[in-house]
Every structure is written in structure tokens, then in C-alpha cells.
């Protein structure tokens, strides 16, 4: 059994860095928080001061009306950091969404990395994951079962374009999480040569604009609410997953319901969501990425924060790697995976 560190306390609602009197990704408002990325299960509102990348602070400002420029918040680019209570904190790319970071903590000669959420494959909307050597690697495990192997993204995007072309009198409505997934699907479509305007639900508008400001070119986007139904035939429409089977979708021309998520790998999951076109596109590491990353980082111990901890723990056991599960709560934004 792996023992917790006296200077880093896992609590159900987050990790507490004792010498620095600072929380990492707490799920409730605290005095001081370092935040890995902007998703609601990692970045909650109401903190006294926030330490994060400039993009994450901008996302939090957009979502919670927090003033990104406020003096009590501090922005750090990748590789940069700060020191507090003898602990050196620094931010490193996690490849999850725009601005997502792993946080490296160095204290009395010990290095601990907390990944937040991450993935290893190419994403045109954010910086790629960096392997940061450490003693303790605190990893997510959303897809910590060997059934989860995400296929190449290009094939899924081709499937989406194929479905739109197969039935030009209909549209394809893609459920994609508003922060990260939606912009990545759009950017991947552009990379695959889809140059037509892409129609979006109003809830995606501001985040897409924020991505554009940070240099992610998404091409021409139009609002569904400002478009005639007939004009969307043969087109691609994006909406948050909650809008898929909502009355909102009645304004679309006979939509084929698609969903971009790693959960779509399991057929019955896709069926439960009433999805007709499952697209296995995820911003989280799949099984191979999780296990490869533990091998690449090669830590003395791995702590597993959320998802299918049991699967990844078992893998660590089989590969004679020290590991333990941290039972953090509120870390299952199913929609976002």
C-alpha cells in the first residue's frame, strides 16, 4: 500500500498542498486554488485567488464572470510557475483542451505531477502533452478500462462527412461538449477540407469566439437561431449534448443525431443516448494512452484520481508499479469525455 505524503493531502473535494495553503482543482470555493483547466469539474467559481494558464483564466472569466486581469489571480504560461511556502509550482501542457495544464510541484527534493485531464493524440486546438519526469504521477483514469481504445480521429471525421453527404436533404447534428470538444471537431473538419459554414447552437458561440481570439481558426460559424431551416440541409450542426434530444432540435431539417465522445465506443452507451451516429472522439486519454503515459513518465508511484480507477490500478499491479486510488468526488462530467 502506498502512503499519502504529509505535505499533500487528498480530500474528497480536491488536493490540498499544506505548506503552500493552496488547493488544486477543488470542487468547492477556497481561498487559493491552482486550476489545471477550465472544465467545471476542475474549475469551480468563487475562489479567492486562482493560479492558472492565461487561457484557463480567460475561460473561467467567460464562464463565471471572473476578472482575468484581477490582481489576485495569476497567469502562467507553459513552463512558468511560482513559489509558495517552499513549494515550486509550474504549468506544463496536458493536451486536453485550450490552456489545459499539468501542474508540477517540487518540495524538499520531491517532484509530484498532477495531470488534471489529458490526452496524447494530436489536437489542432491545443498544445500537445509534455512528459514531465516526477516521483509521484497523479493521473486521471476516465477511460481506465482496456475496452476503451479510441480509433484514429481522421476516420471518425470522415464518417461524419460521409453521413452528411449520404443524405443531403438532412443535416447531421453533432453533440459536442461546449468547451474543447466542439472546437476540436470544428478544427478537425476544417483540416479534413470541410469549408462550408458550420452551424452552432447559441451556447457554443462565446467559447468558439474565445478560441479564435487565442489563435485557433475555426472558419465561418453561423448561429442556428439566425438561419432558415432549409439552409441547414446537407450541413453540419454542433450543439451541446444536452440539446440533442431537446425541443431545440426541432428547428433543424430532419437531423441525424451524432455524438462525439469516448463513451461512444460502447454500443449500448450510444444507444442509451439515442445516438444514430456515434463518433469516438475524446479529449481524454484512452487505455493505451494512459498506460503508455505511466510507462513514459516512469514515476515511483502513480495516484489515480477519477474514472475507472480499478482498471488502471490492476494494470499497475500487473506491471509491478506502485499505485493507489484517490477517491475524489464530483469528477465525472460524463458529457465532456
Amino acid at each position: 500500500m502506498v502512503k499519502p505524503k504529509p505535505w499533500l493531502e487528498p480530500h474528497p473535494h480536491g488536493l490540498y498542498v499544506k505548506p503552500a495553503d493552496l488547493w488544486i482543482d477543488p470542487s468547492r470555493a477556497v481561498e487559493r486554488a491552482a486550476v489545471t483547466h477550465g472544465h467545471a469539474d476542475h474549475a469551480c467559481s468563487g475562489h479567492g485567488s486562482v493560479f492558472a494558464t492565461p487561457e484557463t483564466l480567460a475561460i473561467m472569466a467567460l464562464r463565471y464572470g471572473v476578472d482575468a486581469e484581477a490582481s489576485h489571480n495569476q497567469a502562467f504560461g507553459y513552463g512558468d510557475g511560482f513559489e509558495r511556502g517552499g513549494v515550486r509550482f509550474s504549468f506544463h501542457p496536458a493536451g486536453h483542451v485550450l490552456g489545459s495544464a499539468q501542474i508540477l510541484m517540487e518540495y524538499q527534493g520531491e517532484r509530484i505531477v498532477i495531470t488534471g485531464d489529458y490526452k496524447r493524440r494530436y489536437d489542432p486546438t491545443c498544445a500537445p502533452f509534455a512528459v514531465v519526469p516526477c516521483d509521484i504521477f497523479i493521473t486521471e483514469a476516465t477511460f481506465g478500462l482496456p475496452v476503451f481504445r479510441h480509433p484514429p480521429t481522421g476516420g471518425e471525421i470522415a464518417k461524419l462527412i460521409g453521413a452528411v453527404r449520404a443524405e443531403p436533404e438532412r443535416c447531421v447534428l453533432v453533440g459536442a461538449y461546449a468547451l474543447g470538444k466542439a472546437q476540436r471537431v470544428i478544427a478537425e473538419l476544417r483540416a479534413a477540407g470541410w469549408n462550408a459554414p458550420i452551424y452552432i447552437h447559441g451556447a457554443l458561440e462565446k467559447m468558439c469566439a474565445l478560441y479564435a481570439v487565442h489563435g485557433v481558426d475555426l472558419g465561418e460559424l453561423r448561429l442556428v437561431g439566425e438561419t432558415d431551416k432549409a439552409d441547414m440541409a446537407g450541413q453540419i450542426v454542433l450543439a451541446p449534448p444536452s440539446a440533442l434530444n431537446d425541443r431545440w432540435s426541432r428547428r433543424l431539417p430532419d437531423p441525424v443525431t451524432a455524438m462525439a465522445s469516448g463513451w461512444m465506443r460502447v454500443r449500448q452507451r450510444a444507444r442509451q443516448r439515442m445516438v444514430e451516429l456515434p463518433l469516438v472522439i475524446s479529449d481524454h486519454a484512452d487505455w493505451d494512452e494512459l498506460t503508455t503515459t505511466i510507462s513514459d513518465v516512469n514515476p515511483k508511484e502513480s495516484w489515480i484520481t477519477h474514472g475507472s480507477e480499478d482498471g488502471l490500478l490492476r494494470w499497475c499491479e500487473l506491471h509491478q508499479r506502485k499505485a493507489r486510488a484517490l477517491h475524489l468526488v464530483g469528477r465525472d462530467l460524463e458529457e465532456e469525455a
Partner: protein
């Protein structure tokens, strides 16, 4: 296998019946023999490979994947075939596609001993979607919403032939149905069924709901609570078919032996009950005889089967199906005495004076083997399927009881993440809650979500997949009848239990007592 795997995947995600039909039509038109025949047989669960079972696949997986990881994955996915398909490592020969017929040939020749090696070598040639298709083909349980009826309609539509013809021919020709496709494509004559004991599609009834009918136009008969069967004698053979066209002759050898006339009858298969002085026993008794491949002498004596004959579809080489019911009935009354009365009797026409009289008799019917009343249009021919206005079924009103939820289990397939199967109980005289039944239907999707949450929020204990819940929720359970049963501690077993209502308003202490249910046993 690629085309078949793609078809299955599309069918899984396609909800509308017409879209499913279109997908199968397209597949049948554009896939060569014998693959398409095997594929359609697999979709309609008409294939069985006795040497390949879920256990075979689990054992096989253990040679490639850690058992604990398989267990965790299976628990998450909720389906053995899908879990195995996703976990099986991509093999070295993955590029070499495998035809459906190659797979069927290999599986059919497998023995229990070499089945694991054969399945492994097939899996090694397929990608994840192909592996899923192969395992579903091998194990059954396809669950893509394709009934035999839909498949037959697709065939009729694909080749522009009458669906009634397809229904008849379907069961006379074994998979992969080569002569059927040859006929469909106009390459051969309609296969000759003269010397074959072939299945005629059943005529079915609509529920009467709140309508009334004039008994001058409709004849009334009791609807018996057994299983509907068709007995066919032709080409020197006697075959018994169930409603879906499945042959069940081997379970009822005494009926096969006793039916020695050149005819085709439609009737209800029942077991004679002692308690009712030789009358039909409850469905419970019949269940002892179903699904058996070998029948012991003791079974034959303890649960003697007989058929209550409803209709005559053919006799002495004449097809009577186009004749009106009145004429078939006249011939039936003449015909039944030609059969041994130990195994066959005539379903009586209820001589009600009018609809109100019929309603009163239906309400007064206490025989457990009576499920309700059938109403048959006197001038109607015997036609396949459910046709508006010809036959109605008018079931007895269900019984109900207020029970308390005791245990819940997750469903399968689409319900893999929901606690959707509930065991419920009633109070004994000693004030103990005893299970009286289990139900997994009757609720809406919204109610299911609520029930699922209730289970998760009120779990007391976990026993593998089963959760014991706080005994606080009253469920109003509807059921067709209730019988004595040694299988349950309460000594009772319900027939067709379903959740009629969730009684959030009712305290658990006020749920029904076992004694109340015992009084309903007939």
C-alpha cells in the same frame, strides 16, 4: 464479415422500423449467396452452434486478457460479446477479411473441445467491429430489433415477391435459403412444398380495447392460456410449430404420434390438470414441458399435453385458408372426431346471446387456464398476421397487488446502466417481507430513471449485480394470475407481473399481505 458487421452496426443505431427495413433490403440485394442467407438467419436468431457458448468465449479471453480486467470491463459494458470484441487484441491476419459463410462453416464443425481454438483463429482475422459481428453470430442475442417477420418483409421487398409466400417458404427451407433467393431473383421456380410439412403463418388478433362488436358478425371462443401451436401433417411427417414458426415437435412426442391425419390445425397446447377434474391446468404446469429436447416418461405422465383445436387450415390436401371462418368451423367440427380424444378436443364457441352477456361470462370465468375471450369475424378467411377488424382478443382484467420493492438488478443491453429488474414482496403474518415476484416492465422511461435513482439512493447491501434496497417503496404490480409455487419462499408465483404504478404515496407497512394474494390463487 465487413458488410455484415456494418449492417449490424447500422441496425443497432437505427430506431425506425422502415429504416431498418431499408438497410436489410439493401444488404440482401447486394450481398452474394450464401453470405446473405447466413446473415439473415443470424439476425433472426435462427442459427445455433451448440459447441460455442458464452463460457467458451470467457475461457478464451482469459488466455489473452487479464481476468480481472475482463471482469471489470464486462461489468461496465454489460455484454460478453461486446466486451470480448473490444478486448481481443488485433491479430496479425487482421487484413484478411473473413466471409460470413467461412465463419459459419468453421463454427458449425466445431466440437466442444476445439471450439476455443476455432473461435480464436476467426477473431484473429477481424477488427473490433468484425469481432463483435462474429461473436454475436456465434452466441446469438443479436438484439438489433430484427424479428423474423421484419426479415421476411425485407426479403419480399428486396425481390418484389408477396410476403405471404415468403412466410410460407421461409420455414420450409433451411438457412442459407439458397432456393429462396433463387426464386426471389427469378432464377428458379417457387420451391415446391407439396411433400413438406411446412409452416403456415399464424393469423393474429388485435386487442379489443374499449370497442364492442356485434355477435351476429363475430363468433366468440375462450382464449386459453397455453401456447398457440400449429400442427402440420404432410409428406409423411408431423411437425409442431410455435407462433413464431419455431419447430417444437421434439418436446411433445405424444402429440406428434397422435396426430395421424392429413391436415393442418391451429390450436392451444395445454397440460391437463388434475385439480380441475381433467380440465386444462395453469400455464405453470405447461412450463414444465417447454424447451425440452428429451422428454422423460415421468414428464409425460405428470404433465400430459393436449391440444384444444381452434381452426382447420387444410384437410385431405385441400387448403381451407381462403374460406370464411364459418365454413372452416363446420369442417373442423367434422374433423376433430377423427383425432384421438385423449390428445385433442374442440374449442367450444361461447353461445352468448349478445355482447353484454359475453361480457358477463368473461367477468365470471374463474378457470385459471382462461386468459380471456377471442372474437373472430365469421366471414373472414384465415390470413397471416394481424389484420384490422378480423380477430380481436379480449383479455381478462389483470389482478393487482401493492408490493414492496426488495431487490433490484441492472438490466441488459440498452438498460445496462439502469437498475430495471425489481424483486418485490408482501407481508407474512409474522410481519416479514417475502418475495412474491420479479418484474422489469410496465414503467415509462421517465419512471425508469426515477426508479434507478431510488435504487442507487436507497441501497442497503450489494450482492454482485444485485442491490438490496430500503424496504420503503410500494409498487402496484399487475399480473394475469397467481399460482402456488415451491420455488419461492412465499409459496406463490405470478404470471406476467408488471409494474402498474409507483405508489410513492403509500407507506410500506400498508402494502398487501401474503394472505391476500393466497386468496387470489385459483
Amino acid at each position: 464479415m465487413k458488410r455484415f458487421a456494418a449492417l449490424i452496426d447500422r441496425l443497432i443505431y437505427t430506431r425506425s422500423r422502415n429504416s431498418k427495413l431499408a438497410l436489410i433490403v439493401d444488404y440482401l440485394r447486394h450481398t452474394p449467396d450464401p453470405d446473405r442467407g447466413w446473415a439473415i438467419a443470424a439476425l433472426t436468431e435462427s442459427l445455433d452452434f451448440p459447441a460455442v457458448k458464452a463460457g467458451t468465449v470467457r475461457t478464451l479471453l482469459a488466455t489473452r486478457v487479464d481476468e480481472e480486467l475482463f471482469r471489470l470491463s464486462r461489468h461496465f459494458v454489460g455484454d460478453t460479446a461486446e466486451t470480448a470484441a473490444l478486448l481481443w487484441p488485433d491479430g496479425p491476419r487482421i487484413k484478411a477479411d473473413l466471409s460470413v459463410s467461412e465463419a459459419v462453416d468453421a463454427l458449425a464443425t466445431a466440437s466442444r473441445r476445439d471450439a476455443p481454438a476455432i473461435v480464436a483463429s476467426l477473431l484473429d482475422r477481424l477488427d473490433a467491429d468484425g469481432r463483435y459481428a462474429l461473436l454475436k453470430l456465434a452466441l446469438g442475442g443479436m438484439r438489433v430489433g430484427v424479428s423474423a417477420r421484419l426479415a421476411k418483409q425485407a426479403f419480399a421487398q428486396a425481390f418484389d415477391v408477396p410476403v405471404d409466400d415468403v412466410e410460407e417458404l421461409w420455414h420450409a427451407i433451411p438457412p442459407p435459403y439458397a432456393p429462396l433467393f433463387a426464386w426471389g431473383e427469378g432464377r428458379a421456380e417457387r420451391p415446391d412444398l407439396k411433400d413438406v410439412a411446412f409452416f403456415r403463418p399464424f393469423m393474429l388478433a388485435h386487442p379489443l380495447e374499449d370497442a364492442t362488436v356485434d355477435l351476429a358478425d363475430y363468433a366468440a371462443e375462450w382464449k386459453w392460456d397455453g401456447i398457440r401451436v400449429q400442427i402440420v401433417h404432410g409428406g409423411g411427417q408431423t411437425r409442431i410449430y410455435s407462433r413464431g414458426g419455431e419447430e417444437i415437435s421434439s418436446a411433445f412426442p405424444e402429440l406428434v404420434a397422435a396426430f395421424d391425419q392429413d391436415a393442418v390445425i391451429d390450436g392451444e397446447l395445454l397440460v391437463r390438470g388434475e385439480v380441475q377434474g381433467g380440465e386444462a391446468a395453469s400455464f405453470n404446469a405447461l412450463q414444465q414441458r417447454l424447451g425440452r429436447k428429451n422428454v422423460s416418461k415421468k414428464m409425460l405422465t405428470d404433465y400430459p399435453a393436449f391440444v384444444r383445436v381452434y381452426d382447420l387450415l387444410a384437410v385431405d390436401g385441400n387448403d381451407l385458408r381462403t374460406r370464411p371462418w364459418t365454413e372452416r368451423r363446420r369442417q373442423l367440427e367434422v374433423f376433430v372426431p377423427r383425432l384421438a380424444d385423449s390428445h385433442f378436443d374442440l374449442s367450444q364457441v361461447i353461445d352468448a346471446t349478445d355482447f353484454d352477456d359475453l361480457a358477463a361470462r368473461r367477468a365470471g370465468a374463474r378457470d385459471t387456464a382462461i386468459e380471456g375471450v377471442m372474437l373472430k369475424r365469421r366471414d373472414a378467411p384465415y390470413v397471416a398476421g394481424r389484420r384490422a377488424g378480423l380477430w380481436y382478443k379480449w383479455k381478462r382484467d389483470p389482478l393487482t397487488a401493492d408490493c414492496v420493492m426488495m431487490y433490484a438488478q441492472r438490466g441488459n443491453g440498452r438498460r445496462a446502466s439502469f437498475y430495471s429488474d425489481y424483486t418485490f414482496g408482501c407481508w407474512s403474518d409474522a410481519g416479514e417481507l417475502l418475495p412474491v415476484g420479479k418484474a422489469y416492465s410496465g414503467f415509462t422511461d421517465e419512471e425508469l430513471k426515477w426508479l434507478d435513482k431510488f435504487v442507487r439512493d436507497n441501497t442497503l447491501n450489494r450482492f454482485g449485480p444485485v442491490r438490496e434496497v430500503e424496504k420503503s417503496l410500494v409498487l402496484e404490480v399487475a399480473f394475469d394470475s397467481i399460482h402456488a409455487s415451491k420455488r419461492h419462499k412465499s409459496g406463490l408465483a405470478m404470471r406476467f407481473p408488471r409494474i402498474a404504478r409507483i405508489r410513492r404515496d403509500k407507506p410500506a407497512e400498508e402494502a398487501d399481505r401474503i394472505a391476500t394474494l393466497l386468496a387470489m390463487v385459483t
